[in-house]
Amino acid sequence: MKVAILKLRGILLTSIPIDMNDEDAMAFQADVLRMLSDTEATGLVIDITAMNVVDSYMARVINDTAVQAGMLGAQVVLCGMQPDVALTLIEMGRELIGVETALNLDQAFNRLETMIEEREA
């Protein structure tokens, strides 16, 4: 199963599907990084609205992707975490996700724009 990655004005947008398995996760990570370097995008939004379970493995995939995207010069924002999922994640470990988060896509784009402006200032 391939995860779609869209490009909108220099920002890559991707949505993690509900049933992503570990293999898909690795492919996803590679695809995002390849597309970042191909398109020279300055930002990446990862939407996790569909995800019910963010276990330590998925947290690691998300964090690694963010760190590597950062090395390629992109800012990363995670959005769409459901409140029940956030509760589970806090119990699992407060520092599990070390990525900027936003409530929804709109806020994620605003947040990214500010981050990119700040960096370029």
Partner: protein
């Protein structure tokens, strides 16, 4: 505690983790756990199944069953393997302790997410984790 027959999922390959997780979600929904409890259970099963896959050569089993006590209903997970065992269980239960470059939050996370948690391990013999989540133990009701 009145027990119902359990459902066993063998975890010997990586994709079995997702299968165990789906079975847990379905069981938790069918006994009427709250959404937070369902996600807590699913996350715990995922962590324990990942440990079976990543830390033992042979894999192991996840057994799930509905449990009832004093009018309250819950789901029990038993994760068992005949793998290498854990030399220092106290260390393994600490946040950040890992022997293979993980985040080291799996076991302590499961302990926080579940209402009851027990771990027994013997080097060379294997590991057994038993954890229960109760419907009344959830912090938020829908």
């Amino acid at each position: 505690m009145k027990n119902e027959p359990g459902m066993m999922v063998a975890v010997t390959q990586e994709w079995h983790v997702a299968r165990a997780q789906r079975a847990a979600t379905a069981l938790a929904r069918s006994v009427g756990l709250s959404q937070v409890a369902v996600y807590s259970l699913a996350t715990s099963v995922s962590e324990l199944a990942n440990n079976l896959f990543f830390h033992t050569r042979v894999g192991g089993t996840i057994t799930l069953r509905a449990v009832r006590q004093n009018g309250s209903v819950g789901v029990e997970i038993v994760a068992e393997d005949d793998g290498p065992g854990i030399a220092d269980v106290d260390s393994a239960m600490r946040d950040g302790f890992t022997t293979n470059g993980g985040l080291g939050v799996g076991l302590p996370g499961v302990k926080r997410l579940m209402d009851e948690f027990e771990i027994e391990s013997q080097v060379g013999a294997g590991t057994r984790v038993v954890a229960v989540i109760w419907s009344a133990g959830a912090t938020l009701q829908p």
